[in-house]
Amino acid sequence: MNVLIAIAGLGVLVLVLEIINLRKVIIPLSILGLFGVLGMICCQMGKTEDTFNNMIVKDSFGSAFSILLVSLTILLLGLSHEFYRNHRTKISDFVSIKLFLLSGCIAMVTFGNFAMFFLGIEILSIALYVLAASERLNLRSNEAGMKYFLLGAFASGILLFGITLIYGATGSFDLETITAIVQSGEAEEWLNIGVVMIAIGMLFKIAAAPFHFWAPDVYEGSPALTTALMSTLAKVTAIAAFFKIWSALSYDLPLVTICIIVGVAMLSMTIGNIMALKQANVKRMLAFSGISHAGFMLMAFLNTETAASSLFYYAAAYATAGIAAFAVIIYVARDKGHEDLALFNGLGKTHPLLAVILTCALFSMAGIPVFAGFFAKLMLFNQSFTGGYIALVIVAVVNSIISVGYYFKLIIAMFTNESNEERTGKPFMIYAVAVVALLLNLALGLYPNITGCLGL
């Protein structure tokens, strides 16, 4: 609860700072503030506090994901200064939206009541609609915003329908109560329909096939930082919230659910990877890669009792790698108006460090050891094997192979092609964020026990 207040307060503070003309301190202060929040979460782990009618629950799952989300936001804010250097007047809006968005995310991973979940996801969505469309003179940005909005609102309707049905079946919005009713088997039959509808809504949010169509277009059209945010923060939040709901409510689903989850996972991986192969726009490519990663993460849903830590680990690995990659992309594509592969030509010669960072990030996404992405996949595969989903693992393995194809296309472009772009300036923050994100990723890779430390 305190965390939410702190973050929302920070957002308001940012708006106030703009009013009193302290624009320069907005980003440093909000980063500092978020570090404070991070400290707060860590300090409060294990302590109890007022839950306000069980609206916000404190559990290890929520804390772990909160830490991850706040850290990601810190990194994203670190990129903001450079990214919005031509939009100084709007910086407070951007920063405060991001902070509010973070509060929505935190609400989503720590909710105890569907009202909080619904508001959280709407905050997240609306903030994203705004951010996606935030380059108001850029038609691509507008289009991205519009597409995201239309499909997102549609998905929200379905989600809401699902929540309503659950309410109808159980008479409560409280997750614990609902879980208790579900486990006691007293719920009405609408419950499962509701759960499925929520699942569909969440599948949309994590961009799993066949609800993934928005992702590439939106990722491509949105400003790069927003894309980074969507593919890391938003995706992690959505998958975490989805998992939370799923693990609470999926006791009573028919057996075919497993087939559907497996099918969606396979479809997402395959579509994501195959489509990514032929992309020329890096953001779009990463969007498809994100779709396939969503498919991988869905593997965790087959085994909800034990998969929380794997999911967290996967999400963390994916997000840190994603931020590192996007930091480089933001630098490379700034002021270019597009993110074509050709922009990356010769990066290995002109900016070796950035090229290496991007390479490592892509390695992590491809699941090459010693980066965290490898262990993440390892854990998921391991659980799927234990659960007996061998076909899924095989499809996942085949997909990992395909994914190498497009990741390496980018790597090759960086290291072999001749540079045709002039780039000046080596913005410190971008380097810092990229390096930190990558180091986090590596640390996760070399010390995968981290999930245990967070109590997962």
Binding site: F52, T89, F100, S103, N113, L119, I126
Partner: protein, 172 residues
């Protein structure tokens, strides 16, 4: 058939009919007006269910605020029926088929999912007076946190709307 049922069926017919017309009308302004009618009929449902406060709020928010926003936008853009191109037949057919399919599926699964006992136990408890609603909404043991949280939602919508429409001062 009792009066209530009759009322329910009439209201339902109006709701569905106007909703359909709102979608089907070529002229956006007509659509908006049909939608207003639909909202009013929903408010009628609320009243039928004895949720007076909600009915009122519904009319204020939807018909009063949201629809005005719609109309305002439509007029701002000066859209009329000519604005939309002649619709090709294929999407209509496809959409129609999907309408049937979706409705069919939803109806089927809800028919299948009928609770065994449709016994509705009216306890006579007051659960939807303004007083009770206020308690549930604003009490610390109620929905206070989401209520406050909704303010962030509205704040973000506001900032967003401003951000999207504000002309930028390019000079730093």
């Amino acid at each position: 058939m009792s009066t209530v049922m009759l009322l329910f069926y009439m209201l339902s017919a109006v709701t569905l009919g106007t909703a359909f017309l709102a979608i089907y009308s070529k002229n956006p302004i007509h659509s908006a007006i049909w939608l207003v009618v639909s909202f009013f009929s929903i408010a009628g449902h609320y009243l039928l269910l004895n949720a007076q406060f909600l009915a009122l709020v519904h009319i204020i928010v939807y018909s009063g605020a949201i629809m005005i926003l719609f109309l305002f936008t439509i007029m701002l853009m000066n859209l009329n029926s000519d604005g939309e191109k002649k619709k090709p037949i294929v999407p209509l057919v496809l959409a129609g088929v999907l309408l049937v399919v979706v409705a069919g599926i939803l109806v089927t699964i809800f028919m299948n999912a009928q609770p065994e006992s449709l016994q509705y136990a009216a306890t006579g408890k007051d659960f939807q007076s303004i007083k009770v609603l206020g308690k549930v909404l604003l009490d610390k043991e109620g929905f206070m946190v989401p209520f406050e949280f909704a303010s962030i939602l509205l704040l973000i919508a506001m900032i967003g709307a401003v951000l999207l429409s504000k002309k930028e001062n390019t000079s730093k």
